[in-house]
């Protein structure tokens, strides 16, 4: 060792104050938090209860509220059905092509939303796409593109990717030991998944559902391109904001926005209660 013995060590070098660092942390984060709060407060200040009520009772808005609630809920259910098994697959198994699958599942997250919508539209212009839509129309009497089913599909394409991420993180956080015990107790892999893994993942399922729901509620680009923005047909809340803004009715746009802010805050509370940090990385 070349270090001098303590008795010969010189005086300690002066240590700089930590205060500027802490001030920096607080000022920078505080600035952002202030912007977020100010933005929401401005929305609140802009509108009056009367205007709010007027906007929210118009038949178009009421239809948009209804369609948003219904489509987001359907999207959430579909997303969970796909996300729970996919998250489980990614978390528990090693197989060839896993890295590729993992990357493909990230595409909807990183792709610009407009591109998702356009790509869906192009898909339904190909021969298999047209054939599928014809079959669907024969079975249900409704179309997919520029129709309600298109709203759900557009929401699903993006929301499901978030649900998959959440479910994967959830299963990663659960030891596979319990499922292994279930296997020794007589379960097949499927039984162990249904009766042990899924109940253990219940909090993650709630978080995944909530995030998928919130994501669908805010979806706009893909819906606009793939399902259109037809009043009383494919108009969801985000479409309403866009349509009201484009005709200069800022008051109504803000009123609907407030509604979506409230829904978002509600989602935030639910996700916080069930452990946001655990699942969203």
């Amino acid at each position: 060792m070349n270090a001098p013995p303590p008795s010969q060590a010189g005086p300690e070098p002066p240590v700089r104050s930590d205060l500027p660092f802490y001030i920096g942390l607080f000022v920078l984060s505080g600035l952002y938090v202030f912007l977020i709060s100010a933005m929401l407060l401005a929305d609140l200040a802009y509108t009056t209860p009367g205007a709010l009520l007027r906007a929210l009772t118009s038949p178009e808005t009421r239809y948009a509220i209804k369609l948003s609630l219904v489509s987001c809920t359907i999207t959430t259910i579909f997303s969970l059905w796909v996300a729970a098994p996919t998250g489980y697959l990614l978390s528990r198994y090693k197989f060839r092509g896993k890295a590729l699958l993992d990357s493909v599942l990230d595409i909807p997250i990183v792709l610009p939303p407009l591109v998702v919508g356009l790509s869906l539209l192009i898909l339904f212009r190909t021969a298999p796409g047209i054939a599928f839509e014809t079959l669907y129309e024969r079975a249900t009497g409704a179309r997919i593109t520029y129709a309600v089913a298109g709203v759900v599909l557009a929401q699903f394409m993006v929301a499901c990717a978030f649900a998959v991420r959440t479910m994967r993180a959830t299963f990663d956080g659960i030891s596979p030991r319990r499922e292994q015990v279930a296997l020794t107790l007589g379960c097949s892999r499927g039984q162990a998944f249904w009766s042990v893994a899924l109940p253990e993942a219940r909090k993650g399922i709630v978080v995944a559902a909530t995030l998928a729901w919130a994501r669908s509620l805010g979806e706009f680009g893909p819906i606009l391109i793939f399902a259109g923005a037809t009043r009383l047909k494919t108009e969801v809340l985000s479409t309403t904001v866009f349509l009201e803004m484009s005709v200069g009715n800022v008051e109504a746009a803000v009123a609907v926005s407030l509604l979506m802010i409230i829904a978002s805050l509600f989602v935030l509370v639910i996700v916080r209660v069930f452990g946001y940090a655990e699942y969203v990385r």
Binding site: R177, R178, A182, T184, L185, G186, S188, P199
Partner: protein
Amino acid sequence: MPMPRGGGRRVIVLDKVTVRAGAFVLPEVSLAVPTGQYAVLMGKTGCGKTTLVEAVCGLRAVAAGRIELHGRDVTRLRPAERGIGYVPQDTALFSTLSVRDHLAFALHIRRWPRRDVADRVAELADALGITHLLPRKPAGLSGGEAQRVALGRALSFRPRVLCLDEPLSALDQDTRHEMHALLASVKDRFGVTVLHVTHDRHEAERLADKLFLIAEGRLEEA
């Protein structure tokens, strides 16, 4: 299918079993445990004991060799087809189920009639001294109580082989002595042949009819 239970018949047989876990290899392990005996497999942490128990239970594929239970080659069978009661190190209780549901879990999977399930649960709970815990969830249980529940869950479906992986490592001294007494009585009360893995010499000597040591990638009978 009833099997003869003659003394000296070998219930658990490992024939040149090689197991791998990542870069770790435990090569060509052979051992035999006769009917109704309590075998203890002792070795330091990281010597491959847990890996070996997982292989016996079917939770890990063996790289080479044969595993026989009651004269039946189970090397390629799934865990559910082996009929082994398994108690892992951390008990791995199901957090959403009550103690009663734990004891009934394997019986529901086997579609036992409701009445038989209730009888078996009551019998097990009584034998393990956990009757007062039946309605409780795992979250409220002490270490010793959780181990009893895990043991009851493993014994519920009347397996003839019981595998215990460091079942007492997380317990305090008093509880450990209590559990020693319980485990010592298990093989007679429940008619099982036991394979118990531990790093604790005292525990091994207290319980073992047959003691195996794993060190430096080799298994020897002590």
